[in-house]
């Protein structure tokens, strides 16, 4: 006769990690097995059967509770993905609409491949936004944030690395492919189609010559613009932590306002308008402006909350 929980344990070892087994599954099974053994040794057969039956019920409850905890992480990932998708769609559609005249004139079919070329440039903006929505969802309750903060920071770092690879190499290559498909012939790479290293080289070569350049924005701006984009996920993590300082009922409103303002910095300001800013500010300052705005918004929330707390008797 097998001991209660032995079969479940051998199955659970394939599903759960060593820590979960040691600290959650094994203690349950150990207690049930020992209780069962003591009942059988004492000749209490029916008591043993009851322990076996109720033990299964107990294991089921523990597994369900654990799954609910795991689902909380899955749900956060789902919300972050939905947020990313919702921002990605308009960012993919916008260049398609802009290129509609070329696409119609040349009879180019709007295929999945064409949309794929536009995804990387959209993800540069939408990934940090989606990540922030997920982080804020996770931190919507102030309880136990200290447990989840390292996870959010680690995810932010991962997002930053992905964005770095994306803006550095993937998006430029995809942009160039899109331009070639739409135009129908080989075109020279523009600043947005240069890889990180090529852009850096252009910055080094241009220097003062940038002022005479035909391009509306200097290479130095684009270089720092990309660096600023890479830093966004980590800044967004800090921003979501700062949001927990605001009152719960205003948290989503604050987040929506700040994220909309941040997004509008990239969507509503075409190069011509950015060029106007460059008359007063350096290219580096203009490139880091949206991030600076985000830092100011986060600092304001924390300061405002601190002042409100100190004013409360």
């Amino acid at each position: 006769m097998t001991r209660p929980g032995d079969q479940f344990r051998s199955m659970a070892r394939r599903l759960y990690g060593p820590r979960t087994m040691e600290h959650l599954i094994d203690p349950v099974i150990a207690d049930i097995q020992r209780d069962h053994a003591e009942a059988i040794d004492a000749g209490r057969l029916w008591r043993g059967r009851w322990i076996r039956f109720s033990g299964w019920w107990c294991i089921l409850k523990v597994v369900c509770l654990y799954a609910l905890t795991a689902w909380a992480i899955g749900r956060t990932a789902l919300i972050a993905s939905t947020g990313t998708a919702l921002v990605t769609v308009p960012l993919v559609l916008a260049p398609l609409v802009k290129a509609a005249a070329f696409i119609q004139a040349d009879g180019i079919e709007v295929s999945g491949q064409l949309v794929t070329y536009l995804l990387p440039q959209a993800l540069v903006i939408s990934l940090p936004i989606g990540f922030t929505v997920g982080a804020i969802w996770n931190l919507r309750s102030a309880v136990a944030t200290w447990r989840i903060r390292p996870l959010i920071l680690a995810t932010a770092c991962l997002c930053s690395i992905v964005t770095f690879l994306n803006v550095g190499w993937i998006a430029p290559a995809a942009n160039q492919e899109f331009r070639m498909v739409v135009s129908g012939y080989s075109v020279d790479r523009g600043t947005n189609e240069l890889t990180f290293s090529q852009l850096r080289q252009k910055v080094n070569e241009s220097g003062a010559a940038d002022e005479k350049s035909q391009e509306p924005l200097p290479a130095l701006f684009w270089y720092h613009d990309r660096l600023a984009l890479c830093a966004v996920p980590i800044l967004m993590a800090g921003f979501s932590f700062a949001l927990t300082a605001s009152r719960r009922r205003f948290r989503w409103l604050n987040a929506a306002l700040a994220l909309s303002a941040y997004l509008s910095c990239y969507v509503l300001f075409p190069p011509e308008q950015v060029a106007v800013l460059l008359r007063w500010l350096s290219p580096i300052a203009v490139a880091w402006l949206p991030n600076t705005f985000l830092i100011i918004a986060a600092a304001s929330m924390v300061t405002f909350r601190a002042q409100a707390s100190s004013a409360t008797p």
Binding site: A37, L65, V143
Partner: protein, 102 residues
């Protein structure tokens, strides 16, 4: 301070720390029995796991291999942090709402 939060302590966690503070190390079902129905078999292990993550309790496997076979039991005892947290919460409860103080 806005950045630092007090460690949280649920009613169940407080009860477990109280029970563990009374004597020797205890295992899960022993805590359920000692709580006189306030703790349930299905939730005690998840709560203990969470408390271990928070650093309120520490655990070890029992020394002697069980004669009747089966897995060794996991024994729990409160940590210094756990004792401090439960003391602080009891003190706060007594100060702000004497009717809820133990």
């Amino acid at each position: 301070m806005p950045g630092k939060r007090l460690p949280t302590l649920s009613h169940k966690e407080s009860l477990i720390l109280d029970l563990l503070g009374e004597g020797d190390e205890m295992y899960g079902l022993q805590l359920v029995a000692a709580s006189k129905g306030q703790l349930k078999r299905g939730t005690i292990y998840v709560t203990l796991g969470r408390m271990e993550e928070k650093g309120y309790v520490k655990s070890r496997l029992e020394d002697a291999p069980p004669e009747a076979g089966g897995l060794p039991r996991r024994l729990y005892e409160p940590t210094a942090l756990g004792r401090r947290v439960v003391d602080a919460w009891t003190h706060a409860a007594r100060r702000f709402s004497p009717e809820f103080a133990r």
